[in-house]
Symmetry: C2
Amino acid sequence: MTQEVHIFDRALALEHSDTQSGLFAGAASQDYWNMVGPFGGTTAALALRAVLQHPDLLGTPIALTVNYASAIGPGPLEVLAIPVRTNRSTQHWRMEVRQSGEDGRMQVNTTATAVTAARRETWSGHDLPMPQVPPPAQVERFDMGPKGVAWFNKYEMRPVRGAIPASWDGAEAPSESMLWLRDAQPRALDFCSLAAMSDLFYPRVWLRRAKPVPAGTVSITTYFHADAAQLQEAGTGYLLGRAQGQQFFNGFFDQAAQLWSEAGRLLATSNQIVYFKE
Amino acid sequence: MTQEVHIFDRALALEHSDTQSGLFAGAASQDYWNMVGPFGGTTAALALRAVLQHPDLLGTPIALTVNYASAIGPGPLEVLAIPVRTNRSTQHWRMEVRQSGEDGRMQVNTTATAVTAARRETWSGHDLPMPQVPPPAQVERFDMGPKGVAWFNKYEMRPVRGAIPASWDGAEAPSESMLWLRDAQPRALDFCSLAAMSDLFYPRVWLRRAKPVPAGTVSITTYFHADAAQLQEAGTGYLLGRAQGQQFFNGFFDQAAQLWSEAGRLLATSNQIVYFKE
Protein backbone atom coordinates (compact mmCIF):
# COMPACT_ATOMS: atom_id res chain seq x y z
CA MET A 1 0.00 0.00 0.00
CA THR A 2 1.40 3.37 -0.93
CA GLN A 3 0.54 6.42 1.11
CA GLU A 4 -0.67 9.34 -0.95
CA VAL A 5 1.28 12.56 -0.54
CA HIS A 6 -0.88 15.23 1.10
CA ILE A 7 -1.81 18.14 -1.14
CA PHE A 8 -0.02 20.54 1.25
CA ASP A 9 3.21 18.54 1.02
CA ARG A 10 2.93 18.60 -2.76
CA ALA A 11 2.63 22.38 -2.56
CA LEU A 12 5.82 22.51 -0.46
CA ALA A 13 7.85 20.01 -2.47
CA LEU A 14 11.40 21.35 -2.71
CA GLU A 15 14.48 19.81 -4.22
CA HIS A 16 17.81 20.82 -2.82
CA SER A 17 19.39 21.82 -6.09
CA ASP A 18 22.58 23.20 -4.62
CA THR A 19 23.65 22.42 -1.07
CA GLN A 20 26.55 24.85 -1.21
CA SER A 21 24.48 27.89 -2.07
CA GLY A 22 21.36 26.87 -0.11
CA LEU A 23 19.19 26.92 -3.22
CA PHE A 24 16.05 24.78 -3.47
CA ALA A 25 13.82 24.27 -6.52
CA GLY A 26 10.04 24.13 -6.31
CA ALA A 27 6.90 25.43 -7.97
CA ALA A 28 3.99 27.72 -7.14
CA SER A 29 1.04 25.63 -6.03
CA GLN A 30 -2.11 25.84 -8.14
CA ASP A 31 -3.95 23.88 -5.44
CA TYR A 32 -3.45 26.73 -2.99
CA TRP A 33 -3.96 29.51 -5.51
CA ASN A 34 -5.36 32.77 -4.17
CA MET A 35 -6.43 35.62 -6.43
CA VAL A 36 -3.13 36.78 -7.93
CA GLY A 37 -0.71 34.18 -6.57
CA PRO A 38 -0.49 31.30 -4.12
CA PHE A 39 -2.05 31.73 -0.65
CA GLY A 40 0.53 33.66 1.39
CA GLY A 41 0.47 30.99 4.06
CA THR A 42 1.95 28.47 1.65
CA THR A 43 4.68 30.94 0.69
CA ALA A 44 5.58 31.35 4.37
CA ALA A 45 5.53 27.57 4.78
CA LEU A 46 7.72 27.17 1.70
CA ALA A 47 10.37 29.53 3.08
CA LEU A 48 10.29 27.60 6.35
CA ARG A 49 10.37 24.23 4.59
CA ALA A 50 13.65 25.16 2.89
CA VAL A 51 15.17 25.89 6.32
CA LEU A 52 13.87 22.60 7.72
CA GLN A 53 15.27 20.65 4.76
CA HIS A 54 18.68 22.33 4.98
CA PRO A 55 21.39 19.86 6.04
CA ASP A 56 22.92 22.38 8.48
CA LEU A 57 19.68 22.94 10.43
CA LEU A 58 19.99 23.36 14.20
CA GLY A 59 16.88 22.74 16.32
CA THR A 60 13.29 23.68 15.57
CA PRO A 61 11.63 26.96 14.46
CA ILE A 62 11.18 29.72 17.03
CA ALA A 63 10.45 32.74 14.81
CA LEU A 64 9.59 33.27 11.15
CA THR A 65 9.17 36.60 9.34
CA VAL A 66 8.04 36.65 5.73
CA ASN A 67 7.84 39.82 3.63
CA TYR A 68 5.71 39.62 0.48
CA ALA A 69 7.59 41.87 -1.90
CA SER A 70 5.78 40.87 -5.06
CA ALA A 71 3.11 38.40 -6.17
CA ILE A 72 4.40 34.95 -7.07
CA GLY A 73 3.28 33.80 -10.49
CA PRO A 74 2.51 30.29 -11.75
CA GLY A 75 5.37 27.91 -12.51
CA PRO A 76 8.82 27.17 -11.13
CA LEU A 77 10.38 29.09 -8.27
CA GLU A 78 13.50 28.81 -6.19
CA VAL A 79 13.97 29.21 -2.46
CA LEU A 80 17.22 30.39 -0.95
CA ALA A 81 17.93 29.47 2.68
CA ILE A 82 21.18 30.56 4.29
CA PRO A 83 22.23 29.94 7.89
CA VAL A 84 23.74 33.38 8.44
CA ARG A 85 24.89 32.68 11.96
CA THR A 86 24.96 29.49 14.03
CA ASN A 87 25.43 29.79 17.78
CA ARG A 88 25.60 27.05 20.38
CA SER A 89 21.82 26.73 20.70
CA THR A 90 20.31 29.17 18.19
CA GLN A 91 20.61 29.62 14.45
CA HIS A 92 19.71 32.66 12.32
CA TRP A 93 18.44 32.21 8.79
CA ARG A 94 17.90 34.43 5.78
CA MET A 95 15.59 33.27 3.02
CA GLU A 96 14.30 34.44 -0.35
CA VAL A 97 11.70 33.14 -2.77
CA ARG A 98 12.65 33.98 -6.34
CA GLN A 99 11.11 33.62 -9.74
CA SER A 100 12.16 34.38 -13.24
CA GLY A 101 10.95 37.86 -14.24
CA GLU A 102 9.69 39.02 -17.61
CA ASP A 103 13.27 39.74 -18.69
CA GLY A 104 14.31 36.18 -17.77
CA ARG A 105 16.37 37.30 -14.77
CA MET A 106 15.64 35.91 -11.31
CA GLN A 107 13.72 38.35 -9.14
CA VAL A 108 13.19 38.31 -5.39
CA ASN A 109 9.45 38.01 -4.69
CA THR A 110 9.69 37.27 -0.99
CA THR A 111 12.29 38.01 1.68
CA ALA A 112 12.28 36.20 5.00
CA THR A 113 14.22 35.49 8.16
CA ALA A 114 13.92 32.72 10.70
CA VAL A 115 15.39 31.73 14.02
CA THR A 116 15.68 28.08 14.96
CA ALA A 117 16.87 26.77 18.29
CA ALA A 118 17.64 23.64 20.24
CA ARG A 119 15.15 24.10 23.07
CA ARG A 120 15.89 22.95 26.58
CA GLU A 121 13.25 22.09 29.12
CA THR A 122 12.42 25.05 31.37
CA TRP A 123 9.57 26.39 33.43
CA SER A 124 6.63 26.99 31.12
CA GLY A 125 3.43 28.96 31.54
CA HIS A 126 1.06 31.21 29.69
CA ASP A 127 -0.74 34.52 30.01
CA LEU A 128 -3.25 34.06 27.23
CA PRO A 129 -5.70 31.24 27.98
CA MET A 130 -7.85 29.88 25.17
CA PRO A 131 -11.17 31.72 24.96
CA GLN A 132 -14.25 29.78 26.05
CA VAL A 133 -15.99 28.69 22.86
CA PRO A 134 -18.31 25.85 21.82
CA PRO A 135 -16.49 22.69 20.64
CA PRO A 136 -15.94 22.25 16.86
CA ALA A 137 -18.79 19.75 16.47
CA GLN A 138 -21.24 22.41 17.66
CA VAL A 139 -20.05 25.05 15.19
CA GLU A 140 -21.25 24.98 11.61
CA ARG A 141 -18.71 24.59 8.86
CA PHE A 142 -18.26 27.63 6.66
CA ASP A 143 -18.76 26.90 2.99
CA MET A 144 -17.82 29.63 0.56
CA GLY A 145 -19.19 27.60 -2.34
CA PRO A 146 -18.08 27.42 -5.97
CA LYS A 147 -16.92 31.05 -6.15
CA GLY A 148 -14.20 30.37 -3.58
CA VAL A 149 -10.55 30.75 -4.46
CA ALA A 150 -8.62 27.47 -4.80
CA TRP A 151 -6.81 27.44 -1.42
CA PHE A 152 -9.93 28.14 0.57
CA ASN A 153 -11.50 24.68 0.50
CA LYS A 154 -8.16 23.10 1.46
CA TYR A 155 -9.08 24.12 4.99
CA GLU A 156 -12.04 23.25 7.12
CA MET A 157 -13.20 26.41 8.89
CA ARG A 158 -15.87 26.63 11.56
CA PRO A 159 -16.32 30.30 12.53
CA VAL A 160 -17.35 30.83 16.14
CA ARG A 161 -17.70 34.54 15.54
CA GLY A 162 -16.46 37.21 13.16
CA ALA A 163 -17.25 35.31 9.95
CA ILE A 164 -16.99 37.15 6.64
CA PRO A 165 -19.85 39.69 6.68
CA ALA A 166 -23.04 38.35 5.11
CA SER A 167 -23.84 41.79 3.75
CA TRP A 168 -21.41 44.53 2.77
CA ASP A 169 -23.44 47.31 4.32
CA GLY A 170 -20.54 49.41 5.56
CA ALA A 171 -21.53 49.08 9.22
CA GLU A 172 -18.42 49.45 11.41
CA ALA A 173 -17.85 46.54 13.79
CA PRO A 174 -15.09 45.03 15.95
CA SER A 175 -12.48 43.23 13.85
CA GLU A 176 -12.15 40.09 15.95
CA SER A 177 -12.70 36.62 14.49
CA MET A 178 -12.54 33.21 16.12
CA LEU A 179 -12.78 29.93 14.29
CA TRP A 180 -11.99 26.27 14.54
CA LEU A 181 -9.78 25.24 11.66
CA ARG A 182 -7.79 22.32 10.29
CA ASP A 183 -6.66 20.85 6.98
CA ALA A 184 -9.75 19.70 5.08
CA GLN A 185 -7.88 16.53 4.18
CA PRO A 186 -6.51 15.33 7.55
CA ARG A 187 -2.81 16.00 8.05
CA ALA A 188 -0.80 15.87 11.27
CA LEU A 189 0.20 19.35 12.38
CA ASP A 190 3.80 20.40 11.78
CA PHE A 191 5.70 23.68 11.80
CA CYS A 192 4.97 24.35 8.11
CA SER A 193 1.22 23.90 8.45
CA LEU A 194 1.26 25.98 11.63
CA ALA A 195 3.04 28.74 9.68
CA ALA A 196 0.45 28.54 6.90
CA MET A 197 -2.53 28.45 9.25
CA SER A 198 -1.25 31.61 10.97
CA ASP A 199 -2.13 33.44 7.76
CA LEU A 200 -5.60 31.89 7.36
CA PHE A 201 -7.66 34.89 8.44
CA TYR A 202 -9.38 37.07 5.88
CA PRO A 203 -8.51 40.81 5.95
CA ARG A 204 -9.63 42.42 9.22
CA VAL A 205 -10.58 45.60 7.39
CA TRP A 206 -13.41 43.71 5.63
CA LEU A 207 -14.92 42.83 8.99
CA ARG A 208 -14.18 46.19 10.59
CA ARG A 209 -15.90 48.13 7.82
CA ALA A 210 -18.21 45.53 6.26
CA LYS A 211 -16.59 46.53 3.00
CA PRO A 212 -14.51 44.22 0.75
CA VAL A 213 -11.73 46.65 -0.17
CA PRO A 214 -8.56 45.37 -1.89
CA ALA A 215 -6.11 44.12 0.77
CA GLY A 216 -3.03 41.91 0.99
CA THR A 217 -0.48 40.87 3.61
CA VAL A 218 2.79 42.77 3.35
CA SER A 219 4.71 41.10 6.19
CA ILE A 220 3.92 38.34 8.68
CA THR A 221 5.82 37.22 11.77
CA THR A 222 4.99 33.97 13.54
CA TYR A 223 6.40 32.71 16.82
CA PHE A 224 6.24 28.98 17.53
CA HIS A 225 5.57 27.72 21.04
CA ALA A 226 5.79 24.02 20.37
CA ASP A 227 8.12 21.09 20.18
CA ALA A 228 7.62 17.73 18.48
CA ALA A 229 5.58 16.51 21.47
CA GLN A 230 3.10 19.43 21.32
CA LEU A 231 2.68 19.02 17.56
CA GLN A 232 2.06 15.32 18.00
CA GLU A 233 -0.50 16.03 20.70
CA ALA A 234 -2.32 18.40 18.30
CA GLY A 235 -2.15 15.79 15.53
CA THR A 236 -4.96 16.08 12.99
CA GLY A 237 -7.25 17.84 15.47
CA TYR A 238 -8.73 21.31 15.24
CA LEU A 239 -6.94 24.51 16.17
CA LEU A 240 -8.77 27.49 17.57
CA GLY A 241 -7.69 30.58 15.66
CA ARG A 242 -8.27 34.12 16.84
CA ALA A 243 -7.41 37.28 14.91
CA GLN A 244 -7.96 40.95 15.60
CA GLY A 245 -6.98 44.20 13.94
CA GLN A 246 -5.29 46.74 16.21
CA GLN A 247 -4.69 49.89 14.17
CA PHE A 248 -5.89 50.84 10.69
CA PHE A 249 -4.04 53.85 9.32
CA ASN A 250 -3.55 55.30 5.84
CA GLY A 251 -3.33 52.14 3.79
CA PHE A 252 -2.07 49.62 6.33
CA PHE A 253 -3.45 47.76 9.33
CA ASP A 254 -1.97 45.19 11.65
CA GLN A 255 -3.48 41.93 12.81
CA ALA A 256 -2.63 39.98 15.97
CA ALA A 257 -3.45 36.27 15.83
CA GLN A 258 -3.20 33.22 18.06
CA LEU A 259 -3.58 29.51 17.40
CA TRP A 260 -4.47 27.12 20.25
CA SER A 261 -4.66 23.34 20.05
CA GLU A 262 -8.06 21.83 20.76
CA ALA A 263 -6.67 20.88 24.17
CA GLY A 264 -6.07 24.58 24.88
CA ARG A 265 -2.33 24.92 24.34
CA LEU A 266 -1.16 28.14 22.66
CA LEU A 267 0.98 26.79 19.80
CA ALA A 268 1.65 29.91 17.76
CA THR A 269 1.27 33.67 18.02
CA SER A 270 1.40 35.62 14.80
CA ASN A 271 1.28 39.22 13.66
CA GLN A 272 0.99 40.74 10.25
CA ILE A 273 0.76 44.09 8.57
CA VAL A 274 -1.65 44.32 5.70
CA TYR A 275 -2.03 46.76 2.83
CA PHE A 276 -5.53 48.06 2.10
CA LYS A 277 -7.06 50.52 -0.32
CA GLU A 278 -9.54 53.38 0.17
CA MET B 1 23.97 79.27 19.29
CA THR B 2 24.75 75.71 18.30
CA GLN B 3 22.26 72.98 18.97
CA GLU B 4 23.70 70.03 20.82
CA VAL B 5 23.25 66.67 19.16
CA HIS B 6 20.96 64.46 21.24
CA ILE B 7 22.64 61.48 22.85
CA PHE B 8 20.32 59.14 20.90
CA ASP B 9 21.36 60.69 17.59
CA ARG B 10 24.99 60.30 18.59
CA ALA B 11 24.28 56.61 19.21
CA LEU B 12 22.77 56.31 15.73
CA ALA B 13 25.40 58.33 13.87
CA LEU B 14 26.08 56.56 10.57
CA GLU B 15 28.29 57.53 7.70
CA HIS B 16 27.36 56.26 4.28
CA SER B 17 30.71 54.77 3.44
CA ASP B 18 29.66 53.15 0.19
CA THR B 19 26.48 54.14 -1.61
CA GLN B 20 26.84 51.38 -4.17
CA SER B 21 26.94 48.53 -1.66
CA GLY B 22 24.62 50.13 0.91
CA LEU B 23 27.27 50.04 3.64
CA PHE B 24 27.24 52.51 6.53
CA ALA B 25 29.89 52.98 9.21
CA GLY B 26 29.01 53.58 12.87
CA ALA B 27 29.94 52.53 16.38
CA ALA B 28 28.33 50.70 19.28
CA SER B 29 26.99 53.24 21.75
CA GLN B 30 28.47 53.20 25.24
CA ASP B 31 25.76 55.64 26.34
CA TYR B 32 23.10 53.02 25.69
CA TRP B 33 25.13 50.08 26.94
CA ASN B 34 23.20 47.17 28.38
CA MET B 35 24.86 44.25 30.14
CA VAL B 36 26.75 42.55 27.31
CA GLY B 37 26.17 44.96 24.44
CA PRO B 38 24.17 48.02 23.46
CA PHE B 39 20.45 48.15 24.38
CA GLY B 40 18.67 46.12 21.68
CA GLY B 41 16.38 49.04 20.96
CA THR B 42 19.33 51.10 19.72
CA THR B 43 20.42 48.23 17.47
CA ALA B 44 16.93 48.10 15.95
CA ALA B 45 16.99 51.87 15.54
CA LEU B 46 20.43 51.69 13.94
CA ALA B 47 19.26 49.19 11.32
CA LEU B 48 16.29 51.43 10.59
CA ARG B 49 18.43 54.56 10.49
CA ALA B 50 20.54 53.07 7.71
CA VAL B 51 17.37 52.52 5.66
CA LEU B 52 16.18 56.06 6.34
CA GLN B 53 19.56 57.51 5.31
CA HIS B 54 19.73 55.45 2.13
CA PRO B 55 19.48 57.67 -0.98
CA ASP B 56 17.06 55.26 -2.67
CA LEU B 57 14.51 55.29 0.18
CA LEU B 58 10.84 55.22 -0.79
CA GLY B 59 8.31 56.43 1.79
CA THR B 60 8.29 55.85 5.54
CA PRO B 61 8.68 52.73 7.70
CA ILE B 62 5.75 50.31 7.92
CA ALA B 63 7.42 47.20 9.36
CA LEU B 64 10.78 46.40 10.95
CA THR B 65 12.06 42.98 12.04
CA VAL B 66 15.40 42.70 13.83
CA ASN B 67 17.03 39.38 14.74
CA TYR B 68 19.75 39.52 17.39
CA ALA B 69 22.13 36.82 16.21
CA SER B 70 25.02 37.71 18.49
CA ALA B 71 25.94 40.36 21.06
CA ILE B 72 27.46 43.52 19.62
CA GLY B 73 30.77 44.45 21.23
CA PRO B 74 32.28 47.89 21.86
CA GLY B 75 33.80 49.81 18.96
CA PRO B 76 33.14 50.25 15.26
CA LEU B 77 30.40 48.46 13.40
CA GLU B 78 28.94 48.56 9.93
CA VAL B 79 25.34 48.49 8.82
CA LEU B 80 24.30 47.08 5.48
CA ALA B 81 20.99 48.28 4.01
CA ILE B 82 19.86 46.97 0.64
CA PRO B 83 16.59 47.83 -1.13
CA VAL B 84 15.89 44.30 -2.35
CA ARG B 85 12.73 45.21 -4.21
CA THR B 86 11.12 48.55 -5.00
CA ASN B 87 7.50 48.57 -6.13
CA ARG B 88 5.31 51.51 -7.05
CA SER B 89 4.39 52.33 -3.46
CA THR B 90 6.28 49.85 -1.26
CA GLN B 91 9.94 48.99 -0.81
CA HIS B 92 11.48 45.88 0.78
CA TRP B 93 14.77 46.12 2.65
CA ARG B 94 17.32 43.69 3.95
CA MET B 95 19.77 44.84 6.62
CA GLU B 96 22.69 43.50 8.63
CA VAL B 97 24.77 44.86 11.49
CA ARG B 98 28.32 43.53 11.31
CA GLN B 99 31.40 43.75 13.43
CA SER B 100 34.93 42.50 13.14
CA GLY B 101 35.24 39.12 14.85
CA GLU B 102 38.18 37.75 16.82
CA ASP B 103 39.77 36.50 13.62
CA GLY B 104 39.49 39.96 12.05
CA ARG B 105 36.79 38.93 9.59
CA MET B 106 33.46 40.75 9.52
CA GLN B 107 30.69 38.81 11.23
CA VAL B 108 26.95 39.31 11.05
CA ASN B 109 25.65 40.13 14.54
CA THR B 110 22.16 41.21 13.54
CA THR B 111 19.93 40.42 10.58
CA ALA B 112 16.91 42.56 9.77
CA THR B 113 14.25 43.34 7.22
CA ALA B 114 12.05 46.38 6.75
CA VAL B 115 9.17 47.50 4.59
CA THR B 116 8.77 51.17 3.76
CA ALA B 117 5.87 52.65 1.84
CA ALA B 118 4.48 55.84 0.41
CA ARG B 119 1.23 55.98 2.34
CA ARG B 120 -1.93 57.37 0.85
CA GLU B 121 -4.77 58.82 2.87
CA THR B 122 -7.48 56.22 3.54
CA TRP B 123 -10.16 55.46 6.08
CA SER B 124 -8.48 54.99 9.45
CA GLY B 125 -9.69 53.46 12.69
CA HIS B 126 -8.58 51.36 15.59
CA ASP B 127 -9.60 48.33 17.62
CA LEU B 128 -7.27 48.80 20.54
CA PRO B 129 -8.11 51.96 22.52
CA MET B 130 -5.55 53.28 25.00
CA PRO B 131 -6.16 51.83 28.48
CA GLN B 132 -7.53 54.24 31.08
CA VAL B 133 -4.57 55.21 33.26
CA PRO B 134 -3.62 58.18 35.43
CA PRO B 135 -1.77 60.97 33.56
CA PRO B 136 2.06 60.94 33.69
CA ALA B 137 2.26 63.72 36.30
CA GLN B 138 0.33 61.52 38.74
CA VAL B 139 2.63 58.53 38.31
CA GLU B 140 5.93 58.36 40.15
CA ARG B 141 9.12 58.16 38.14
CA PHE B 142 10.97 54.90 38.42
CA ASP B 143 14.57 55.30 39.53
CA MET B 144 16.75 52.23 39.33
CA GLY B 145 19.60 54.07 41.02
CA PRO B 146 23.35 53.75 40.58
CA LYS B 147 23.29 50.00 39.87
CA GLY B 148 21.33 50.63 36.67
CA VAL B 149 22.80 49.75 33.30
CA ALA B 150 23.88 52.70 31.15
CA TRP B 151 20.91 52.87 28.74
CA PHE B 152 18.32 52.76 31.48
CA ASN B 153 18.54 56.35 32.68
CA LYS B 154 18.39 57.60 29.08
CA TYR B 155 14.65 57.10 29.41
CA GLU B 156 12.15 58.51 31.81
CA MET B 157 9.83 55.72 32.93
CA ARG B 158 6.72 56.09 35.04
CA PRO B 159 5.25 52.63 35.69
CA VAL B 160 1.49 52.60 36.07
CA ARG B 161 1.55 48.91 36.90
CA GLY B 162 3.77 45.88 36.43
CA ALA B 163 7.00 47.54 37.59
CA ILE B 164 10.06 45.35 38.15
CA PRO B 165 9.20 43.20 41.19
CA ALA B 166 10.34 44.74 44.46
CA SER B 167 11.12 41.30 45.85
CA TRP B 168 12.16 38.21 43.94
CA ASP B 169 9.95 35.87 45.93
CA GLY B 170 9.00 33.55 43.07
CA ALA B 171 5.29 34.38 43.32
CA GLU B 172 3.66 33.86 39.92
CA ALA B 173 1.78 36.90 38.60
CA PRO B 174 0.33 38.27 35.34
CA SER B 175 3.06 39.53 33.01
CA GLU B 176 1.44 42.80 31.96
CA SER B 177 3.20 46.14 32.42
CA MET B 178 2.06 49.65 31.61
CA LEU B 179 4.20 52.73 31.86
CA TRP B 180 4.53 56.28 30.67
CA LEU B 181 7.86 56.74 28.95
CA ARG B 182 9.92 59.24 26.99
CA ASP B 183 13.51 60.21 26.34
CA ALA B 184 14.99 61.54 29.61
CA GLN B 185 16.58 64.34 27.62
CA PRO B 186 13.67 65.70 25.53
CA ARG B 187 13.75 64.64 21.89
CA ALA B 188 10.97 64.84 19.32
CA LEU B 189 9.63 61.40 18.48
CA ASP B 190 10.72 59.87 15.18
CA PHE B 191 10.64 56.41 13.66
CA CYS B 192 14.02 55.46 15.12
CA SER B 193 13.09 56.40 18.69
CA LEU B 194 9.74 54.67 18.25
CA ALA B 195 11.61 51.52 17.17
CA ALA B 196 13.91 51.75 20.20
CA MET B 197 11.10 52.44 22.66
CA SER B 198 9.25 49.35 21.41
CA ASP B 199 12.01 47.32 23.06
CA LEU B 200 11.99 49.22 26.35
CA PHE B 201 10.21 46.64 28.47
CA TYR B 202 12.15 44.42 30.85
CA PRO B 203 11.77 40.63 30.36
CA ARG B 204 8.18 39.51 31.00
CA VAL B 205 9.41 36.30 32.61
CA TRP B 206 10.88 38.34 35.50
CA LEU B 207 7.43 39.72 36.26
CA ARG B 208 5.57 36.47 35.57
CA ARG B 209 7.76 34.49 37.96
CA ALA B 210 9.19 37.18 40.25
CA LYS B 211 12.54 35.66 39.38
CA PRO B 212 15.38 37.48 37.55
CA VAL B 213 16.48 34.65 35.24
CA PRO B 214 18.87 35.35 32.34
CA ALA B 215 16.85 36.55 29.33
CA GLY B 216 17.43 38.39 26.06
CA THR B 217 15.46 39.36 22.98
CA VAL B 218 16.05 37.06 20.02
CA SER B 219 13.82 38.76 17.45
CA ILE B 220 11.58 41.84 17.47
CA THR B 221 9.05 43.02 14.92
CA THR B 222 7.56 46.51 15.06
CA TYR B 223 4.75 47.92 12.94
CA PHE B 224 4.49 51.68 12.59
CA HIS B 225 1.09 53.37 12.45
CA ALA B 226 2.24 56.94 11.99
CA ASP B 227 3.18 59.51 9.46
CA ALA B 228 5.16 62.72 9.92
CA ALA B 229 2.03 64.47 11.23
CA GLN B 230 1.40 61.89 13.98
CA LEU B 231 5.03 61.96 15.05
CA GLN B 232 4.94 65.74 15.21
CA GLU B 233 1.77 65.61 17.28
CA ALA B 234 3.50 63.25 19.73
CA GLY B 235 6.57 65.53 19.83
CA THR B 236 8.52 65.31 23.07
CA GLY B 237 5.49 64.11 25.03
CA TYR B 238 5.02 60.84 26.85
CA LEU B 239 4.04 57.57 25.27
CA LEU B 240 2.00 54.99 27.09
CA GLY B 241 3.67 51.61 26.69
CA ARG B 242 1.98 48.31 27.40
CA ALA B 243 3.65 44.89 27.24
CA GLN B 244 2.43 41.42 28.03
CA GLY B 245 3.82 37.91 27.70
CA GLN B 246 1.59 35.43 25.90
CA GLN B 247 3.29 32.04 26.01
CA PHE B 248 6.37 30.90 27.93
CA PHE B 249 7.68 27.55 26.69
CA ASN B 250 10.99 25.71 27.01
CA GLY B 251 13.42 28.57 26.86
CA PHE B 252 11.45 31.20 24.90
CA PHE B 253 8.52 33.50 25.51
CA ASP B 254 6.81 36.08 23.36
CA GLN B 255 5.81 39.61 24.28
CA ALA B 256 3.11 41.75 22.67
CA ALA B 257 3.57 45.51 23.11
CA GLN B 258 1.79 48.71 22.13
CA LEU B 259 2.82 52.35 22.26
CA TRP B 260 0.18 55.09 22.34
CA SER B 261 0.80 58.83 22.19
CA GLU B 262 -0.31 60.80 25.22
CA ALA B 263 -3.29 61.91 23.12
CA GLY B 264 -4.32 58.27 22.78
CA ARG B 265 -3.19 57.43 19.27
CA LEU B 266 -1.72 53.94 18.76
CA LEU B 267 1.61 54.72 17.08
CA ALA B 268 3.34 51.36 17.12
CA THR B 269 2.56 47.71 17.83
CA SER B 270 5.50 45.45 18.50
CA ASN B 271 6.15 41.80 19.19
CA GLN B 272 9.24 39.99 20.28
CA ILE B 273 10.42 36.53 21.15
CA VAL B 274 12.79 36.29 24.07
CA TYR B 275 15.22 33.66 25.22
CA PHE B 276 15.18 32.73 28.91
CA LYS B 277 16.98 30.23 31.12
CA GLU B 278 15.72 27.75 33.72
